[in-house]
Every structure is written in C-alpha cells, then in structure tokens.
C-alpha cells in the first residue's frame, strides 16, 4: 500500500479512487481532523493556529504571506510522507481551504520536486475525458508497489 498525495488535497473523487485501488490517500481532511481533535487552548478548535505559520517556515520563506505558510504547515508534512502523487489541474473549484493560488502553486511545485511517481491530468468535462481520467488514474494506481485490483 503506497501513500498517495492528491491534489486538490480535499478531493472526493481522488480520495475515493486511491482508496478504491488499495492505497492510502494523503488528504487534507485527515490533517484537519488531527488538528481539531488535539488538546489546545482554542475553543472552538481552529484548523489553523498562530503556530501554523511557524511550522510552515520549513516549506516557505519568512517573507511568504502567513496564510501560505499556515496552509503549508498542513500540506507540507503530507508531501514529506508521500510515496506517489496525483495532480489534477484545470480545477475551477479550488474553493475554501483550497482557495489560495500561491499555496496551490507551491504544493504542486513541491510534489513535482520530490522523486516520486506522479500522474498529472486535467479534470474531465466530457464523457470521453471522464473515461480517460478514470483509466489513467486506475492504471497509475495499479502500477504503484503493492497496488491491488479494485477491492
């Protein structure tokens, strides 16, 4: 079972496909869960605290906006753990916690920099593209170490 980082990091489709083909998705949701369930002084628990931008210094320089560093404190450790990556571009839906363009660029850059197998594709818009999307992801996931057929 390989740890696969997905981009967009909170994607339902990618997270499901990685799990479906027997690997472990590294997704934002699990990170958020860890943070909000950790004992702290914040009530209600916050997903990004003043500590975030400090931890983010490992991935982005000090002059980079605190928002990027804060987000990188969540995404960076996932990239460190990744054994493979799937980057899906053409995402007009990078809303919410995915909505920071600079963080998205840095995330994609750091994944590409890492010496791991990477699949880069675009979000599908037509039926043919959808088939292409699924087949490429499925073949990629099967090619990873200890990748299984669909569970």
């Amino acid at each position: 079972m390989a740890k696969v980082i997905i981009y967009p990091t909170n994607s339902l489709i990618l997270s499901d496909m990685v799990e479906r083909f027997g690997h472990e998705p590294l997704a934002m949701m699990e990170k958020i869960k860890e943070i909000i369930n950790t004992v702290g002084v914040d009530s209600p628990p916050l997903n990004i605290t003043p500590e975030g931008p400090k931890h983010g210094l490992k991935y982005a320089a000090v002059e980079v906006p605190a928002g990027v560093r804060g987000r990188m404190s969540l995404i960076g450790p996932m990239i460190d753990l990744a054994e493979a990556g799937i980057i899906v571009g053409d995402s007009s839906i990078s809303f919410g916690c995915m909505g920071c363009a600079r963080t998205n660029e840095l995330t994609k850059f750091l994944i590409r920099e890492k010496d791991i197998p990477i699949l880069e594709i675009q979000y599908p818009h037509t039926e043919e593209e959808g088939q292409d999307f699924v087949y490429k992801i499925a073949e990629f996931l099967k090619s990873l170490p200890s990748g299984s057929d669909e569970k």
């Binding site: 339902l12 489709i13 949701m29 699990e30 958020i32 909000i36 209600p44 292409d132 999307f133 087949y135």
Partner: protein, 144 residues
C-alpha cells in the same frame, strides 16, 4: 466541541446511483449494530463513530453499488459548531462548493468505472484544441 477520547472518524458517503437512494443507504446504516451516528444529507450520508465500525458500515454501503457510491473522510464530525449551518445562520458550509462541483462529475466517473471494470478498452479521442488567434480575429471581424 468535546474532546474525542477514542479513535473516532467521520466519512462522507456520496450516492450517485440510479438504483440506490440516500434513504436506502441510511436504512442500511440503521440496520447496523455498531455504535455509530449518521446524518442524512442531500447527497448521501455522513457516518461518525469508532474507526472499525465506520469502515465496516462504509464497506457495506459501498457494496450496494460499488461504482456509484463514493466515500471520503471528513475532518469535522456532523453538527460540529464551527461548520454546521444551524449555528451559523444558514448558507452553504465551507467545503460544500467543492463537494457540489465534484458531485456533478460523479455520474460520468461512475460510468467510466463500470467500463473499466468490464475491461472495455479506452477509446482514443482527440482533445478539443484551443481556438486559434487568427480564427478568433476572423470571427470578431465578421461580426463587425
């Protein structure tokens, strides 16, 4: 929010099936003997509880229509104060827009998974090319 003492997780189960309704999935969860909480939503259900129990229930739900039921983890549990619309005066909760966009793609992804499972070869197709600038100029001029 109360501190979680055990390894509790929440999974979002999105149903994009022609044969299974979100209610059917919810009924299936109610049949479960495990101590889990569920919340029915417009796109499916959210299941919260101890990891083992949730994974078991999610697997049962998936098996109802494997290629048309999609699952992802959720950071906040159902009804969490900072996320739930009830305490924020309405409006979509953060993260809903992304989910809604992806839910629109699910029928297409489901059909592709069916084809992949059936071993159908990938049909080659030409990707639509971007409009050439000279062509665009011609179109603009012709309208004048």
């Amino acid at each position: 929010m109360a501190e979680e003492t055990e390894d509790n997780i929440t999974k979002i189960v999105v149903i994009s099936s022609d044969s299974i309704l979100p209610t059917d999935a919810a009924m299936k969860v109610y049949e479960s003997e495990d101590s889990i909480t569920i919340k029915e939503t417009c796109f499916g259900t959210m299941v919260n509880g101890p990891r083992e129990a949730v994974l078991k229930v999610v697997e049962t739900l998936r098996s109802m229509d494997r290629n048309h039921i999609f699952v992802k983890e959720r950071g906040f549990k159902p009804g969490a104060e900072v996320r739930c619309r009830a305490g924020r005066g309405g409006g979509p909760r953060p993260g809903f827009h992304f989910l809604r966009e992806e839910v629109n793609m699910l029928p297409m992804i489901g059909r592709a998974l069916d084809k992949y499972e059936a071993g159908e070869p990938l049909e080659e197709h030409e990707a639509p090319k971007k409009l050439d600038i000279s062509k665009l100029k011609k179109i603009i001029d012709s309208e004048l």
